[in-house]
């Protein structure tokens, strides 16, 4: 087994092991008080660990690339977004693990999370330009524009049923703003993610594909988790929060694997 394959396996095992305390109760397996404790510690610390790994690896990858390399600003911008995600996750860890309190909504964590999105979005858009600069056959500009229009249309259509229950539930102005902002920002991120997936899939079988498959799968899962969170909260299905937590863990693990893969590619 190659070194990269071993790293993949280790990542997969850790991701599944940390998601298990959230998935098992959904499958009808009683986990009792131990499960509750595990979910607080493993859930929060694994999310923080994966996000920190992703942020550090993105920064290190950017530092290794030459100044004129078009992927350098991509990884730097992505790292800035991921560092903000780490900041938000630290706030949640303080509430839930250190002070043993339910984290309020909205909180300082939301400021970090919302501020992260423009960086992630900018990083993904720059990545599309960087791919185009390779001179490799990645499809035409017209194709990419067509994908953007199609995905944009679908997200607008999908956004309506997601946002309708969110808007119907009475909430404080800031909470309402955030309830709307998260799905909207996620759906905005979805457009470059799908364009990049269509480009990156042409590299399947190579290390470049593994890097971007991890990263983009992570952002897809994050969008899914955010939309589920907003929907379940608005429709009073908080019991399904465990599914949301498991999805976040797998999302952050995939992003971390992608960023680590890029760093390994440069070594």
């Amino acid at each position: 087994m190659s070194r990269h394959a071993r790293v993949d396996l280790v990542f997969l095992i850790i991701a599944l092991a940390t998601a298990a305390p959230f998935v098992l109760p959904l499958a009808g397996v009683a986990t009792g008080e131990v499960g509750d404790e595990l979910r607080v510690y493993v859930g929060n610390l694994s999310k923080l660990g994966f996000l920190t790994c992703a942020a550090v690896m993105s920064l290190m990858a950017a530092a290794r690339l030459e100044r004129d390399n078009p992927m350098r600003p991509v990884w730097r911008t992505m790292a800035a977004g991921l560092v903000l995600f780490v900041g938000g996750e630290i706030v949640l860890v303080m509430y839930q693990v250190v002070w043993r309190l339910p984290s309020p909504f909205p909180s300082l964590a939301d400021l970090f999370f919302v501020l992260a999105y423009p960086f992630i979005l900018a990083g993904l858009l720059r990545a599309i330009s960087a791919y185009a600069e390779t001179g490799y056959p990645i499809g035409t500009r017209r194709e990419r524009l067509g994908t953007a229009v199609a995905v944009g249309g679908v997200t607008v259509l999908a956004g309506y049923p997601v946002l309708k229950p969110v808007l119907a539930v009475p909430a404080a102005p800031l909470a309402m703003l955030l309830n709307v902002a998260y799905p909207v920002l996620d759906l905005a991120v979805l457009v470059p993610v799908i364009i990049l997936l269509r480009i990156a899939i042409r590299f399947r079988g190579g290390e470049v594909w593994k890097v971007w498959a991890g990263l983009l799968a992570g952002f897809l899962l994050m969008t899914f988790a955010d939309v589920l969170f907003g929907y379940f909260t608005a429709t009073a299905h908080e019991s399904l929060d465990r599914l949301v937590d498991a999805t976040y863990i797998l999302s952050y693990a995939a992003i971390a694997r992608g960023a680590l893969g890029q760093y390994q590619l440069l070594k």
């Binding site: 290794r64 690339l65 030459e66 390399n69 078009p70 992927m71 960087a130 791919y131 600069e133 390779t134 001179g135 490799y136 056959p137 042409r202 590299f203 399947r204 079988g205 190579g206 290390e207 470049v208 594909w209 590619l265 440069l266």
Partner: protein
Amino acid sequence: MAKTKDALDTIVGMLSPYLGETMARAAALAHCQKLGIAVEGTDISREQLDALLRKLTQGLNIFVGREKAAAVVNDINAAMAARGAA
């Protein structure tokens, strides 16, 4: 001088671990076309090979950095030389 098709197979084999075989072949063929290099039943000159590798490396740089891309090109040249010697 090597057969163009053999040279392309060597290049594709060396680039595939990074780009995947489909993209490695598609990129090599696309650049051959742009550089006016005929693939079937022809020999590739040193100048043509250098020009092709230069184009492919410009793209590879973006993903793996200049240093590693240069190492890959060295490996391709070494493999071509070994093939020529054999």
